[in-house]
Amino acid sequence: MAHDTALISLSGVARHYPGGVEALRGVSLQVARGDLVVVSGPSGAGKTTLLRLMAAIERPTAGSVLVNGQNVAALRPRAIPWLRRNFGLVFQDHKLLSDRSLFHNVALPLRIAGFEPREAARRVRAALDKVGLLHRERAMPAALSGGEQQRACIARAIVHRPAIVLADEPTANLDMAYASDIVSLLGAFHGVGSTLVIATHDVAAFTPLGPRQVYLCAGLVGPQMQS
């Protein structure tokens, strides 16, 4: 894949933490527009760090991360929120706000982006409908099951129609039926042209979507497999 056509491009990226922990060691990876990339590997391989670097939540210790041609490490702090609006983030721990209803949780990215309330409400309900949670829009996160919370997190990630969805272990801690639902949802989102990067230790669950697979081990990229 040509470097200059990549939506996300990592080149020689390293990420070291205090105490000598090397989460990533010289990772290079290109993600093109419309790609579906599954990053797999054992716990501690650096999958989450890779996604955090792509979303500019962290900065690389060495190497460069380009998103839409912008060098994330060189961005001024003020520019980072605007870059992040290109992403839909699905967190392993959901990160739903416990004191807000499901509706308000999903509406948060639209509020941040300054959407007009009526249009925001329409989009929120459409997203909740897509993930099958429209009937629970008034529920508080604590009242949702693990699977519902994960679906709510996906609804929040896609509600503003981002160019890229980064999902960190979206099927972790879910039983097979729920996991299958989540995989189908992400597959449907990819089907309408979105770029997805999914970090998971459960590659088999995503195999039906025919993703490009990247294997990470101890901070290094193993052989890439294109299905």
Partner: protein, 303 residues
């Protein structure tokens, strides 16, 4: 512009929601700040009242020249004209012995005593104001006038003016110092109350940042909260001072300090209202801004 206004409206709405959810705590906080802030505001008014006294007839550097009790009217008239022409005198007000007696009857309740005396024991007098409030010039004038024929006694009233000026200066300094100290205290209180909110909302702040919220977006509701806290504290301070000054005016009214202006100066005016509310609002905003900015700075590893 429409989006900007909508964002501010939503932030204000959110701040009001937080305020409503902790109304008792909010009320107690603004009460504490308001009562504390009333002190410098009250001192400011008191300084204004002392200034009025200082400028007024009670305290203006002036001489009181008494004619001898038996001075004949032509002598009295000549003395008056001579005083009026003197270059050190800015103004001369004649108080005849009859006027003085009438004032004594009216103001001091000495009517019976005066009637028992039979004749008017009071002399004719002149109140001489110094040109440009020059007390030193008046002292020279006193020494000069004391030697004039027909003059019994000359009293210089500059010491009280000096005391009042010193008092006004001291009050002004105290008000400034207290105002500055309490301003810092208000910033600190707002910093702490907003910090508590930030800590309880840190999960929301973290998520909002992750999904693209700017620092301005995160800060906005807290800034509105801090500003509201400062504004309401300013209003409380104004209310405390207004209530206090009203009771003080009632207490002082019978004393007849000699000028209605003095009592008027004790009443907080519109400028005092704007000052207390405006300064309160700005300091509340500042406390909130410092608080949220400090949190954002500490929690922004990736920006």
């Amino acid at each position: 512009m429409k989006t900007w206004l909508r964002e501010h409206r939503l932030a204000l709405h959110e701040a009001l929601g937080r305020l409503a959810s902790q109304s008792v705590g909010f009320a107690l906080t603004v009460l504490v700040i308001g009562i504390a802030a009333a002190l410098p505001l009250g001192l400011r008014l008191l300084t204004g009242a002392v200034d009025v006294l200082d400028r007024g007839p009670v305290a203006t550097a002036q001489l009181t020249v008494f004619a001898t009790v038996d001075a004949a009217p032509p002598v009295v008239q000549a003395l008056g004209e001579r005083l009026g022409r003197h270059p050190a005198a800015a103004g001369v007000r004649f108080v005849s012995r009859d006027q003085a007696l009438a004032a004594l009857h009216r103001d001091a309740g000495l009517a019976q005593l005066m009637e028992d005396l039979g004749s008017n024991p009071l002399p004719d007098a002149w109140i001489v104001t110094a040109r440009g409030g020059d007390a030193a010039g008046l002292e020279t004038l006193r020494d000069e006038v004391s030697g004039w024929a027909g003059v019994d006694q000359v009293l210089l009233d500059a010491d009280r003016a000096r005391t009042l000026r010193a008092l006004a200066g001291g009050l002004r300094q105290t008000a400034r110092l207290l105002g500055a100290l309490l301003g810092v205290a208000l910033v600190a209180v707002c910093f702490s109350t907003v910090r508590l909110q930030v800590l309880t909302q840190r999960e929301e702040i973290e998520v909002a940042k992750l999904i693209g919220a700017t620092d301005a977006f995160i800060r906005r509701p807290y800034l509105y909260f801090g500003t509201l806290q400062g504004l309401v504290s300013g209003l409380v301070a104004f209310g405390v001072v207004a209530g206090g000054s009203e009771s003080l005016r009632h207490a002082l009214a019978p004393a007849e300090l000699g000028a209605v202006a003095v009592l008027d100066a004790l009443a907080p005016d519109l400028a005092s209202l704007w000052l207390s509310v405006g300064v309160g609002g700005v300091l509340g905003w500042l406390g909130a801004w410092l608080s949220v900015s400090e949190h954002l700075r500490r929690t922004s590893p990736g920006g």
